[in-house]
C-alpha cells in the first residue's frame, strides 16, 4: 500500500472511532442519569477495573500497554464529562471583590526598602507596612488581625521556589489574592566612606548570596547569612567593621549606605514573584490564575490521570511542583497553578470534581499578577 492509501484507511478508521466515541459517551451519560435517579453511587471502581482487565487481556502482546492507556484515558474522559453533567450547577467558590485602593495595613517581611516592601508598592497606592522578621510572623499578623494583608516571596528565577512560603500556605487557611513580579537588582552597599578594597565580608539573605555567587567568588568575599536583605543593610549601618550588604538600592538609600557596585547578580534578568495573602477569598475582576494544593493516590499514572481532567476542561497548567509533606517519610503534595477564573462553569466544575475525588485538596486563591 502507498502512503495515500494508508492514510485513507486511517481516516476511515478515525471516522468509525469517532462515532463509537460519541456513542460511548452518550451511553455513559445514560448510566449516570439512571444512577442519579436511583440514588446509586455514580462511579464504580470495580467495573472500571473489569473493563481494563478485559481489553488488556484481549489485546495482542505488543499492544497491551498501549491498549490499557487508551481505555483508561477514554474512561477518564468519560468520567470528566459525567462530572460536568453532574456538577452542571456547581456553585463557584464564594468570594468578595479585592479592593486595593485606599489605605491598607500589610504585614511585610524585613524592613524599609526590602524587596517585599517594594513589591507591596507595586500593588497598593497607599499602605501601612507592618514589618516582621520571619515569614511565619506574616501569617500570624494576618491571622490575628494585626494586618489586613500579608506579602511573601513565592519563587525566584535564579534560586527557585520559596519552600517555606508553600509550606505555610498549606498550614494556614489563607488565600492568595494578588501576585506581582519584581526585577531583583542587587547592589553592594557599605557604611559611608568604606572603600571597596577594605571589604572582606558581605551580609545578605541566603537567596541574595546565591543570586550574586559569581560576583562574590570573583572578589573572594566571605559570606554571612542574614534573615533579610534589608535587615542586612541595617546591620551594616550599625556595624563598626568594614562589612558590605547585598541588598536593593532602595534599602541602601534608606539606611544611608554608599552603593559601591550595582547589578551584581549572576543573571542579568533576575525576577522574584510575590503573593499577597488574605484571610478571605478576594478576587479582582481580571483574576486569571488559580493556585491549588492536592495529594494524589500512590498509584501509577495518578498524575497523568489528574492532568486528563485539566486537558478535557481545556485548562492549562502554568506551574507544577511536588513537595514532600513535613513529618512523613516523603509523601508528596502537589502545588499547581492554572489559568482560569473561579466564576466560570468549567473551573467551578473542575474544582468540585477535584474536591470530591481527592483525599486532600485545597483551593489557594484566584488572582491576577499586577
Amino acid at each position: 500500500m502507498d502512503l495515500n492509501e494508508l492514510r485513507l484507511q486511517i481516516n476511515d478508521v478515525d471516522k468509525q472511532m469517532q462515532e463509537l466515541f460519541t456513542k460511548r459517551m452518550r451511553l455513559c451519560f445514560q448510566v449516570a442519569e439512571y444512577k442519579i435517579a436511583n440514588d446509586l453511587p455514580v462511579f464504580h471502581k470495580d467495573r472500571e477495573k473489569e473493563i481494563i482487565n478485559r481489553v488488556t487481556n484481549d489485546a495482542p502482546d505488543d499492544l497491551k500497554g498501549a491498549t490499557r492507556v487508551y481505555f483508561q484515558t477514554m474512561m477518564d474522559i468519560s468520567k470528566c464529562l459525567q462530572y460536568q453533567q453532574f456538577f452542571a450547577n456547581a456553585d463557584s467558590v464564594p468570594y468578595k471583590p479585592l479592593i486595593l485602593k485606599g489605605r491598607h495595613t500589610v504585614a511585610v517581611p524585613g524592613t524599609n526598602g526590602s524587596y517585599n516592601h517594594i513589591a507591596c508598592s507595586n500593588l497598593f497606592d497607599d499602605f501601612e507596612p507592618i514589618f516582621h522578621e520571619d515569614f511565619e510572623d506574616i501569617f500570624r499578623a494576618v491571622s490575628e488581625g494585626e494586618a489586613e494583608f500579608g506579602i511573601l516571596p513565592i519563587v525566584n528565577s535564579t534560586a527557585g521556589s520559596v519552600a517555606q512560603t508553600y509550606e505555610l500556605m498549606k498550614e494556614y487557611d489563607f488565600k492568595i489574592c494578588a501576585g506581582t513580579k519584581l526585577r531583583i537588582s542587587h547592589c553592594l552597599a557599605v557604611k559611608r566612606g568604606v572603600k571597596f578594597d577594605e571589604i572582606e565580608s558581605v551580609y545578605s539573605h541566603e537567596q541574595g548570596l546565591q543570586q550574586c555567587s559569581d560576583f562574590i567568588r570573583e572578589n573572594n568575599f566571605k559570606t554571612h547569612r542574614y534573615a533579610n536583605t534589608s535587615l542586612a543593610a541595617k546591620f551594616i549601618k550599625d556595624s563598626e567593621k568594614p562589612y558590605a550588604a547585598i541588598c536593593s538600592e532602595n534599602a541602601a538609600e534608606q539606611f544611608g549606605l554608599d552603593i559601591l557596585r550595582k547589578n551584581i547578580q549572576n543573571a542579568t534578568d533576575n525576577y522574584t514573584k510575590f503573593i499577597l495573602i488574605s484571610k478571605e477569598t478576594l478576587k479582582s475582576e481580571n483574576a486569571n490564575t488559580i493556585s491549588v494544593c492536592l495529594a494524589l493516590p500512590h498509584q501509577s499514572s495518578s498524575l497523568y490521570r489528574l492532568l486528563t481532567k485539566f486537558s478535557v476542561a481545556g485548562l492549562n497548567l502554568s506551574m507544577i511542583e511536588s513537595m514532600p509533606i513535613a513529618n512523613t517519610d516523603f509523601d508528596v503534595v502537589f502545588y499547581l497553578d492554572f489559568h482560569g477564573a473561579i466564576d466560570t462553569p468549567e473551573v467551578a466544575k473542575l474544582l468540585s470534581e477535584l474536591e470530591q475525588e481527592l483525599s486532600y485538596f485545597k483551593f489557594l486563591g484566584n488572582y491576577e499578577e499586577v
Copy 2:
C-alpha cells in the same frame, strides 16, 4: 434501558473500539515502515493537526473538548509505539559499574559531623572527606579531579527542594550515582558550661532554623544564618558569647560542645535526601531511579502529552518539579524522577524518544537509594 442493558451496550462498543484501535495502530506501523523505507521524516505535524481539526469539527458541541483530547491521546500513543518500533535497537546510555567499596575521596559541604558527612558514611565504608563551604565548590572539586565524588542535599521533608543543587546539576555535566536518606535530628549545643537561660542567639543553616522554628519561637531566641550547621557548631566553639548552635549531635561532639536539648525540630520525622555525584555515568546493579531534566514547548497540554509517553511505557514518576530558568522571565524546566533502569529496552527507547523530541533534555543519572 436498565443498567445491565446499558452496560452490555458499552461492552459491545468497547469491543468494536478495541478492534479499531488495534487496526489503527497496525496501519500506523505500516506508515512508519513506508516512510523509513523511502527516507521520509516519520512524524508530520500538519497531518496530525488536520486530523484533530476534522474530528473536533465533526464532534457534537458538548463533546468537542473531549473528542480533541481523545484523538490527541490516541495519536500520542501511536507515536510512542512507532518510536518503540523505530528505536527497537536503541542503545542504552553507556555506563560503568559503581564501586563504593575501598577508599574514595568525596567532596563534602561543611565540616566534620555535618549531615552531609554523616550521609557519606551511609554510602562508603571508607572515604576521605574533602570539606568545602559552598555547594558550587563541591562541583568544582569533582570537576577538577580534587575528589572522585561529591555529596549534596537535594530535598528535605520539611523545607523542600534544595534549589541550588538542582540549578548546579543543570549547569554542570555530572551524574547522580547514588542516593541516601538521613533522618535529621537537631540538637541545641553550647560551649562547655553555658546554661540554657543564658542563651539569646542561635546559629544554624537556614534550613536548620526553619526546621526548628517552633522551638526557637517558644524560647524567643534570636536567629542567625550560617553557611552550614556544622560550621555553626565550630563558630560556637570559638565564640566568646553564650551563643548556641542548632546542629547534629555528631557535630556537637566533634567540637566538644554541650548538648542542652535533643530532637528540637518541629517535625519528629524530618528526613533529607542526599545525592552522590560523579563525572561519569556510574550505575549500581540495583539502580532503580532515573532522574532527568527537560524543557517543554509553550503549548497547552504539553506536560500531559509528555506523561502519555511514560504511561505507555509503563514507567512511573516519583517526583516532578517545574523550576524557573535563571536569566529568563520565568521559562521553566522540569525535573522528573521515575522508576527504572537504563539498560532495559523500555527505558532506552523512552530516553531516545525524549532526546529526539525535546528541544532540551538531560539525563541526570540512574541510581539506587542506599
